[in-house]
């Protein structure tokens, strides 16, 4: 089923016309309502009336995560008044967190793109969906909730965690659709087996997995163990949350809702557009959002894009699975982790040096694990083991508070952390994804 056929199957020429209409309205709207953007656009030497076609978007300045942070809380909002009915806040890297907001229209847009997403994956009105993404400040849970409501599904809002209860609910209500992170669904399969339950013996049709990187081999494993079709969803809170792009049942790329989230793929070094099919950084302009519309937002995700019509009938362009990042961010259990956050914690603890390394691992059927190696310096070294243990506990607690995920802290000898070209290698990602 295609939720918004007239848009999702639109001829590309028509789509371009629609995008042009939206952009011509968007730029004056932002220019007149957001002083920060007005300044950016002025500095780029552009007048809003010079934007006459969607192709003129290339003349506009980029927006980065740093802009989001520097203008916290409401600096990038074009409407921060009482029309804003919902806000979501993600944890900050070193300073400010990232705030996004939604007007009633923005929430309805989110509901619509999420309804398209669930349909694209293969969900239908009347299906029961178990939403095991976290509800709360994280956009995953509520995004799926709005979409499922729009679509007319029966929602079981389990949120993440309480695995035994999730499994009991699966037994009692036999949902057809599950939405959660891919590592959590594999973890739940193991827990189910430990409880003597065969995960494959359900009423499953599809799973919609995202918020962290995963591979074709994980897909095969999930499909086999749960007896369902596993699909990939893409989104980020800066743009809207989940619901930016979604795989259809053919699984040959993720359909991006380019009528409202205009994609460009650029070379992150030259900022120039790459050729179709080549990999580059995904840059998105939100064409119709009201509260915090973003112009050319640098996602830092590396993808490629294709514009040919899909077997499913949709003409909406397809992006590849994420191939990498332009920065050193890693995603662990749906949470964005920057090495700088750990550096910040260590600098705050008296006597510790920011000599550390992050090791991320994913053992078979387990959630991702993070180990932080911290080099012991003379200033903090003690002949008493209990003092060293206290120190490592303190580092652990503070890192956990900063990252919002559990970590293991290991004290190591100085100079044991591998340094290449004088620069320490901060992240060792051992996950096979």
């Amino acid at each position: 089923m295609i939720w918004k056929k007239e848009i999702e199957c639109m001829q590309l020429a028509e789509l371009k016309k629609l995008q042009t209409d939206y952009l011509k309205k968007l730029i004056p709207y932002i220019y007149n309502n957001c002083p920060v953007y007005k300044k950016k656009i002025d500095e780029a030497g552009i007048k809003p009336d010079q934007i006459k076609s969607i192709d003129d978007i290339k003349r506009l300045p980029f927006t980065t995560k740093i802009d989001m942070r520097d203008n916290y809380p409401y600096g990038l909002f074009s409407n921060k008044g009482k029309d804003v009915v919902e806000i979501h806040i993600s944890s900050g890297t070193t300073g400010n967190p990232t705030l996004v907001g939604y007007t009633r229209y923005d929430v309805s847009l989110w509901s619509e793109v999420m309804a398209r997403t669930i349909c694209c994956a293969g969900g239908e009105p009347g299906d029961t969906i178990q939403i095991a993404y976290g509800y709360g400040l994280f956009t995953g849970g509520l995004g799926f909730h709005y979409g499922a409501l729009e679509l007319g599904m029966r929602i079981i809002p389990t949120s993440a965690g309480q695995t035994a209860r999730q499994i009991k609910i699966m037994q009692d209500f036999k949902p057809k659709v599950i939405a959660c992170t891919p590592s959590y669904v594999l973890y739940m399969a193991e827990e189910a087996k430990a409880m003597g339950i065969d995960p494959a013996k359900g009423n499953w049709k599809i799973g919609i997995f995202g918020a962290e990187p995963w591979s074709e081999s994980m897909r095969k494993e999930i499909e086999q163990v749960w007896n369902m079709s596993a699909t990939d969803v893409y989104g980020l809170s800066e743009i809207i949350g989940p619901g930016v792009a979604q795989e259809c049942t053919h699984k040959e790329g993720l359909h991006i809702y380019s009528d409202v989230f205009y994609p460009e793929i650029i070379d992150p070094k030259t900022d120039q557009e790459v050729k179709e099919g080549e990999s580059g950084e995904l840059v998105i302009t939100t064409l119709t959002k009201q509260a915090i519309p973003l112009i050319r937002y640098r996602t830092r995700d590396i993808v490629s894009i294709r514009y040919d019509k899909c077997k499913c009938g949709r003409t909406s362009p397809r992006i590849s699975k994420i191939k990498g990042r332009t920065d050193d961010m890693i995603i662990v259990r749906g949470i964005n982790v920057f090495p700088s956050q750990i550096e910040h914690v260590l600098l705050g603890i008296k006597g510790t040096q920011p000599h550390y390394q992050i090791i991320v691992d994913r053992k078979a059927h387990q959630l991702d694990e993070v180990e932080v190696l911290v080099e012991v310096e003379e200033k903090i070294f003690s002949d008493e083991v209990k003092k060293l243990n206290e120190l490592s506990q303190k580092i652990k607690k503070e890192i956990e508070a900063a990252l919002s995920i559990g970590v293991k802290v290991t004290l190591v000898e100085p100079k044991t952390i591998q340094r290449s070209e004088g620069k320490a290698k901060r992240i060792i990602d051992k996950r096979i994804i």
Partner: protein, 143 residues
């Protein structure tokens, strides 16, 4: 009389203890007493040596994290109740022992033990008051 103990941070890795000992051996430093406190991921090697200044310099030069701690070596009667006798002095006088370990060799008929106190200055004062014989630095160096 206080003695100097050298503590060395060691990761739980194959050969690390060997690295320390062979380094000290090559430098002509003799280990008099030794203990290791271990955890899941690291250990702390504590040693009393004949040339502690040279030992710490050598260790630091070779990128080991090491520091110096004041300890006290006490001769304890090598007979049943010998250790209890000395511990009673500590208990009666509120002297808290962080940890203790034995010497590799003896230099009389008595056993020789290293004590790390919570408050070393106070402990040595009480030991002197009670007439307990503590081993001097010179005696250790001459072992």
């Amino acid at each position: 009389m206080k003695l100097t103990q050298i503590s060395v941070f060691l990761e739980n890795r194959k050969g690390r203890l060997y690295d320390v000992c062979s380094l000290l051996g090559k430098t002509g430093i003799n280990i008099r007493a030794l203990t290791i406190a271990e955890t899941e991921t690291f250990g702390v090697l504590r040693i009393v040596v004949d040339k502690s200044d040279l030992a710490i310099q050598t260790l630091r030069k070779n990128n080991f994290v090491a520091n110096l701690t004041d300890v006290v070596a006490i001769e304890v009667g090598d007979k049943p109740g010998g250790l209890a006798e000395i511990l009673k002095v500590f208990a009666d006088n509120d002297v808290n022992v962080e940890y203790m370990y034995g010497f590799v060799e003896k230099f009389s008929d008595n056993a020789l033990l290293v004590f790390r106190f919570e408050d070393t200055d106070n402990a040595t004062k009480i030991l002197a008051d009670k007439g307990v014989k503590v081993v001097t630095r010179k005696e250790i160096e001459g072992l």
